[in-house]
């Protein structure tokens, strides 16, 4: 059936597993079906919030690395980020969304996060 292309490997199972995993991790295509639009919008909003949360977290870590935060500031920022993370976890659970759902595929630009 397949004339020329050959796949050569000593570990077919492991590669099959990893390939499958990488395909599953890819965010689901945005579904513009009107019945699902509401859930789609919630997903979209949460995705954007998640993006901002991650950006803020990275910013904070960089400042910790650079040593430009006082002990008090580290404590305060850490507490806020922790609350934010917990809030997001709650919202995700409430809406039945997984981490992989909160992403956007921008075609040639790759994934948003």
């Amino acid at each position: 059936m397949i004339a020329h292309a050959i796949v050569e490997t000593d570990s077919p199972d492991e590669f099959a597993e990893q390939i499958q995993k990488s395909q599953d991790a890819h965010p689901a295509r945005i579904d513009a079906n009107p019945e699902n639009v509401e859930k789609g919008l919630a997903k979209l909003v949460l995705t954007l919030i998640e993006l901002i949360r991650q950006l803020l977290e990275k910013q904070a870590i960089r400042r910790v690395e650079a040593g430009s935060l006082s002990e008090e500031e580290v404590e305060r920022v850490g507490e806020t980020l922790m609350k934010l993370e917990n809030k997001m976890a709650q919202l995700k659970e409430l809406l039945g969304l997984k981490d992989e759902d909160l992403n956007l595929n921008l075609g040639p630009l790759g994934d948003l996060m």
Partner: protein, 67 residues
Amino acid sequence: MTKSANVTLLEILDRVLDKGVVISGDMVISVADVDLIYLGLKVLLSSVETMEQLRGSPFAGPMQEAR
């Protein structure tokens, strides 16, 4: 399916489903990622537009009619 056939199928699916030439136009019927991305962008736009309208109203709130 034998183990190595599984990985071959995955390799083929990865190429044939996601790569290759994608053409667009009115006469083309195809389920390509690109169309769905544009749909996604349109959804984003309409939700932002709604926000715009709400913000424009000085008494913006759930009871107000947008526009």
